[in-house]
């Protein structure tokens, strides 16, 4: 078996609130292979958001090791984390998190800005990414002019424009009606079928069912 894309070993995340220490994650071991579609399922407060922050390199574990795409994350400083996020991870959020007052095209092109890609190439690649997701006629619309489903597709285009090794989706259907949500799930499924590694966090067992593998989180621990 090849080296996993994601390798968490005995990872803990403890929040020190001064008078009390809260363990959001305790001794988590998790491997994700390239090409997998993993769903991390758990109710709110289970620690799945903390897990996603660590997997997404927005946070560091307080104990244990995390290796992403061969890079040991604990050793990186903030700039190193930013670079790793920029090159390796595409984020899709529950509330889309598009830049306000900014066109779909500029939104999708922004991750490339932080990779130092020239403006011309950025816009060309962003345009192509939007085209692939069927938003070719919406490139100049700002987020408020788009429906929820369209905004989430713009967000997915933005996550994919850098061709990341990992697509990290946090409740991607949480704010969508059932039909738009189903579209997004289908889209993720297609992307995975085309070879993209996807980690999706959700509390919805129905949504989790499309994934090729599911893990459940409860009280900061993984359960089978």
């Amino acid at each position: 078996m090849s080296t996993p894309l994601i390798e968490l070993q005995n990872v803990s995340r403890i929040y020190d609130l001064g008078h009390i220490q809260v363990a959001a994650l305790q001794g988590v071991d998790l491997d994700v292979q390239e090409g997998e579609f993993l769903a991390i399922v758990g109710p709110s407060g289970s620690g799945k958001s903390t897990l996603m922050n660590i997997v997404g390199c927005l946070d560091r574990p307080t104990a244990g090791t995390y290796t992403l795409n061969g890079t040991p994350v604990a050793e990186l400083d903030d700039d190193g984390l930013a670079r790793l996020r920029s090159r390796t991870i595409g984020f899709v959020f529950q509330n889309y998190n598009l830049l306000p007052r900014t066109s779909a095209l500029e939104n999708v092109a922004t991750p490339l800005l932080y990779q130092g890609v020239s403006r011309k190439d950025r816009l060309a690649r962003a345009g192509a990414a939007l085209e692939r997701l069927g938003l070719g006629d919406r490139v100049n619309h700002v987020p408020t002019e788009l429906s929820g489903g369209q905004q989430q597709r713009v967000a997915i285009a933005r996550a994919l424009v850098t061709e990341p090794a990992l697509l990290l989706a946090d409740e991607p259907t949480g704010n969508l009606d059932s039909s738009s949500g189903a579209d997004v799930i289908t889209l993720l499924h297609e992307l995975n079928a085309a070879g993209r590694t996807i980690v999706m966090i959700t509390h919805d067992v129905d949504v989790a069912r499309v994934a090729s593998r599911q893990v459940h989180v409860r009280d900061g621990r993984l359960i089978a």
């Binding site: 927005l58 700039d79 670079r83 996020r85």
Partner: protein, 403 residues
């Protein structure tokens, strides 16, 4: 990230909230405009005063009699009558003296046809116009022959000619000064007044004539000397002092019975006062620039708070702390620089208008706008750094959850 990208980002951001950007810039605009225009006003006033002083005569030295001392009472400067025509002639022989003219004076009733006036009659020579920097408008100045021959010839100041209803056609006509007939040989160009006494209200006649008819004696009120070049003023002053001390029999170190007034001293004093005024004005104006800078900082802090989520998104999709820092800093810089440029335009326009109204013309010093722009950039950096650091330090997780 490249500077161009940052500027583009800043401009598009400012473009999306124009009113706020304009109001924020207004502080810097007012600050820079007031610095630029007040410095220009200060410099314009300086150059205006300097020009007027130079108009009194180039490289002019004036020798006046000293004070009389009667017993233990010292009289006012000029009260003694110790200077003579001979002194003036002796000064004329010194090195570095370009022209010299003695002046005696009297006040007389003047009649020309049906018009009359009372004015100052200055007994002098033709060199008067050179030394006192007058131009002859019509006719000519007094000539040597008229002085030698004690002729009743008169050169009129512009105001006096006006008062008497005399113009270009009056050259050669006869007026009466103190009841005696004088031939008008010339009219001087107006110079404008410096203070309450107008230099244009006087009549020049040969000093020999004044001596004969009005003020007997060989003493003079003052001696005007035009020094050949500004660099020689101090030397010539020394020469005159030595000469007059010898002529008047005063031992070195004794109390001189004359004083020598130096135009350049006056000029230095006046310009140092107006330079001080300029610095003072600029200092006051700088305070408004400071207030403008604080306005920028205020808006940038509000902006960081409002855009917390945007910062979180940018960080999540790969922005480093320094990218965020640069973005906010450039935004503050663009605000202050744009404000600075608009401020310069307004300031230069205002100083042009003021210069025209005040009559000293438009004094444009390119250093002022340059300094103003650099200063407004500095304001942008100083007041932009702190909010930008706040933005750069935000934790992306917290920022993403911020509502």
């Amino acid at each position: 990230m490249k500077a161009m990208e940052l500027v583009r980002l800043a401009l598009s951001r400012l473009g999306s909230s124009r009113l706020r950007a304009a109001l924020t810039m207004l502080g810097v605009i007012i600050g820079v405009a007031s610095v630029v225009s007040l410095v220009a006003v200060g410099q314009g006033a300086t150059s205006g005063i300097t020009k007027q002083l130079q108009g009194l005569g180039t490289n002019l030295l004036t020798v006046n009699p000293g004070a009389t001392t009667t017993g233990f009472t010292r009289g006012a400067a000029g009260s003694a009558s110790t200077l003579t025509i001979a002194d003036a002639q002796a000064i004329g022989g010194l090195d570095g003296v370009a022209a010299v003219e003695p002046e005696t004076s009297t006040s007389q009733f003047v009649v020309a046809g049906t018009q009359n006036t009372t004015t100052t009659i200055v007994g002098t020579t033709g060199a008067y116009t050179t030394v006192r920097n007058f131009n002859v408008w019509q006719g000519s100045t007094l000539n040597g022959a008229a002085v030698d021959a004690t002729l009743n010839e008169a050169v009129l100041g512009a105001t006096t000619a006006d008062d008497l209803g005399l113009g270009a056609s009056s050259i050669g006509s006869t007026i009466k000064i103190g009841g005696l007939p004088f031939r008008v040989v010339g009219i001087l160009q107006a110079k404008g007044s410096t203070g309450p006494t107008s230099q244009d209200d006087q009549i020049l006649v040969p000093y020999t004539t004044v001596e004969d008819h009005f003020v007997p004696g060989k003493t003079v009120r003052s001696i005007g000397i035009s020094v050949a070049s500004a660099g020689q003023i101090d030397t010539v002053k020394g020469e005159i002092t030595t000469l007059l001390e010898t002529r008047h029999g005063i031992a070195a170190g004794g109390t001189n019975d004359f004083t020598i007034a130096d135009q350049s001293q006056l000029l230095t004093t006046v310009s140092s006062v107006s330079d001080l005024l300029t610095v003072l004005l600029a200092g006051i104006a700088s305070i408004s620039l400071l207030v403008g800078g604080i306005g920028i900082m205020n808006i940038m802090l509000v902006s960081v708070r409002e855009r917390t989520r945007e910062i979180g998104i940018r960080k999540a999709i790969g922005a480093r702390g320094r990218d965020i820092l640069a973005q906010f800093l450039v935004e503050a810089l663009v605000l202050s620089l744009l404000g600075g440029l608009i401020g310069i335009a307004i300031g230069v326009g205002a100083s042009y208008l003021i210069g025209q109204l005040a009559g000293w013309g438009f004094v444009f010093n390119p250093i002022t706008p340059l300094v103003a722009v650099l200063f407004s950039l500095l304001v942008g950096i100083v007041f932009g750094v702190w909010p930008a650091r706040q933005a750069a330090r935000l934790d992306p997780i917290v920022a993403l959850r911020y509502e």
